[in-house]
């Protein structure tokens, strides 16, 4: 297989996968339509990840590491819906929503987690280690921030190719401590590569709180070190993230180089499925539960008359059905044959 030169752009299904139409008349209000898409993707990520973490993992159907984005879904989804289909996405391990936005369905995600052939990597890798070059979504490796130089290089290539596409790179607060983070952003900044950098500052890296990770107050404080703009947004407000990402994308697409967005949020879960997060001061759970991005969005939608309670319930029900169906599908997907083991290490004739 040669490197992918011309990219097949996925059909972006604006209402997601089989999400029901709303009863409210499809108004001209683009904000309402956007809200609906937000709501769909946020809820879908929440539901799929709940299923993974709280059900399939506990049932022993998923064996490897499980990291979810509970409580911080608005970041990937807010920024991801700014990205054009031809933009290149570099998700981190809590950005499942980005896959859905790129037209990858829950079926492939469940199969991925269960190590089946129907998974995006066919069982070769697990959990969020998945990607699809044709859909311009690049699989992370485990090493935190390793995707930053890679995203910088992709952005440099897009610029070289004269494309108006840009790259979106997602990472956590902890990842910013790594040398790769620094090297990658510095290179991209010098090259004025079209790169949108999105930090989910969920205040923890595994058990390590922010103050043991960095001595500056904000990740955004680091923008100045690279001569790039940086801003802070409420990462639980999907509209705020969306708007910041628009500013960033505009900046990058205009040839002005990288742009850093720090999204303040909270990881509403332990680090991974086996971690109860006991080191988190108890009161924080409640405080942040009240700021839940889905609740926040739902409130706004109801307030503004963009949806009724019934609409939202029907959406949730549809997502549950879709998720049920996808789990079934994935469980029926076979395990790869052992003969796959030694295949595709190198190009095959």
């Amino acid at each position: 297989m040669a490197a992918v030169k011309s990219v097949t752009l996925p059909e972006l299904n604006p209402s997601g996968f089989g999400a029901p139409e709303f009863s409210t008349p499809e108004s001209q209000d683009s904000e309402a339509a956007l809200a609906r898409r937000f709501y769909y993707f946020l809820s879908l990520q929440r539901e799929v990840e709940d299923r993974i973490e709280r059900k399939l993992y506990r049932q022993g159907k998923i064996l490897g590491g499980v990291y979810v984005g509970r409580g911080q879904e608005a970041i990937g989804i807010g920024a991801g819906l700014v990205a054009r289909p031809d933009d290149v996405l570099f998700p981190c391990h809590r950005d499942l929503g980005l896959y859905f936005i790129r037209g990858i369905g829950p079926r492939e995600v469940f199969a991925q987690y269960m190590g089946r052939v129907g998974g995006l990597t066919g069982g070769k890798d697990g959990n969020m280690h998945m990607g699809d070059l044709n859909r311009r979504i690049v699989a992370i490796i485990s090493a935190m921030a390793a995707s930053v130089p890679v995203a910088a290089g992709a952005a440099m290539a897009l610029k070289y190719q004269g494309s108006s596409s840009i790259a979106f790179n997602f990472f956590g607060d902890g990842a910013t401590s790594r040398g790769d983070w620094h090297e990658g952003i510095n290179l991209a900044a010098v090259q004025k590569a079209p790169l949108v950098l999105i930090c989910n500052n969920n205040q923890y890296a595994y058990s390590t709180p922010l103050e043991k990770q960095m001595a500056c107050r904000h990740v955004a404080d680091r923008g100045v070190a690279y001569g790039i703009p940086a801003e802070i947004v409420d990462g639980n407000d999907v509209f705020a993230v969306y708007q910041a990402a628009q500013r960033a994308a505009e900046h990058a697409r205009a040839g002005k180089g990288p742009y850093l967005i720090e999204c303040k949020t909270f990881r509403m879960t332990g680090h991974s499925a086996h971690d109860g997060g006991d080191y988190v001061p108890k009161h924080l759970w409640g405080e942040w539960a009240a700021k839940d991005p889905i609740l926040k969005l739902a409130g706004k939608m109801l307030d503004r008359g963009w949806a009724t309670e019934g609409d939202l319930e029907r959406m949730q029900a549809a997502i549950k059905r879709e998720t049920d169906e996808a789990v079934d599908w994935a469980e029926r997907s076979p395990y790869p044959d052992a003969s796959e083991l030694t295949r595709n290490v190198y190009e095959e004739a």
Binding site: G123, D125, S177, G179, Y206, S207, Q213, P336, T342
Partner: protein, 324 residues
């Protein structure tokens, strides 16, 4: 006293050294309040305080580098890589700073880098690797790969006391699966000495880490088939205990070298080459290498099972070698 797990043995070893020598201190990610991703350092923050149990940012190069710098000041740092797979992020500090320091300017860097390695836990490509061969090819380092709880404890203590940089690979699949009664008193296990895990006359399996247990199972089965099989547990890969290896080869004349790391460029080649160089006349057949195939470690269970060398494979190759 209940039997002690491999994991607990390492924990005890570190604990005792922390008690013994105030220069010993720990650094790594999530080793404090969380007690480490695998809980090897559990309770140490409470006992020794956050000056000696330092939670670091996610920065393996800084962790190793800081360990080196602290060792220059007379401390005895024990650095944890959360997974051995991330040791690549601190690679330059290990192979270029620590390994060469004594030789270049007579400044020993007595650090220990602990690295939980190995597959069999469904960790996929980045939580399963066995990167020991890279370090075995780096003069100035010592490389340790215990297979038993006894050795794990004795070797971590020896590593901490050693005056050279040591990479200490802890096999994750052994953490809770392997246990034994440990002696009451204090002991260390010498670095650089292999161990006869099981005696035999007709064939030798030379191995280390998790594969020692696979080899032992295979040996038990071969015994039933009338082939008395010796299992050598190397324990230390650098320096390699050539003497023990060659003694076994001279006794049995048939050798299998077994490791979990991928085959090409793995340490099996080194061992096989030394054996043929130094005991060619004693060999009654080629030195057989058994190791993982040359692929990343796959995630899906059937793929990972096919990847990891297992008892059946070893028995099958042993039979062929016996018949040679």
């Amino acid at each position: 006293m209940p039997a002690t797990t491999y994991l607990e043995a390492i924990r005890q070893g570190i604990w005792e050294e922390m008690e013994r020598d105030p220069n010993v201190f720990l650094l790594g990610e999530d080793i404090g309040i969380y007690g480490g991703a695998f809980k090897v350092t559990q309770g140490m923050l409470e006992r020794f305080g956050d000056k000696r149990v330092v939670d670091t940012p996610i920065a393996e190069s800084a962790i190793v580098g800081a360990a080196i710098g602290a060792s220059f000041m007379g401390l005895r740092p024990v650095a944890e890589m959360q997974f051995a797979d991330f040791i690549t992020c601190g690679f330059d500090q290990i192979v270029n700073f620590a390994a060469k320091s004594r030789y270049r300017w007579n400044a020993p860097a007595p650090i220990v880098v602990r690295a939980p390695s190995g597959g069999g836990i469904h960790g996929g490509p980045y939580h399963s690797q066995n990167p020991e061969a890279w370090f075995v090819h780096t003069p100035g380092l010592k490389v340790i790969t215990p297979a038993t709880a006894y050795d794990a404890k004795g070797l971590i203590k020896a590593a901490i006391r050693d005056n050279d940089p040591v990479i200490f690979f802890e096999h994750k699949a052994l953490y809770r699966r392997v246990k034994e009664d440990l002696p009451e008193g204090e002991y260390t296990v010498p670095i650089g000495k292999a161990r006869v895990h099981r005696e035999g006359r007709d064939m030798s399996i030379i191995t280390y880490g998790a594969m020692v247990h696979v080899a032992a199972e295979a040996a038990a089965q071969m015994e039933k088939e009338g082939v008395s099989t010796e299992v050598i547990d190397l324990r230390t890969l650098l320096p390699l205990d050539e003497e023990t290896i060659l003694a076994s080869v001279r006794k049995t004349s048939k050798v299998i070298v077994l490791h979990e790391a991928t085959i090409t460029g793995g340490i099996g080649g080194e061992i096989a080459a030394r054996i043929t160089e130094k005991a060619f006349e004693w060999l009654d057949g080629p030195v057989v290498r058994i190791a993982a195939p040359d692929t990343p470690v796959p995630y899906s269970p059937p793929l990972e099972e096919a990847f990891l060398p297992n008892t059946a494979t070893v028995v099958e190759r042993a039979r062929r070698l016996a018949a040679y």
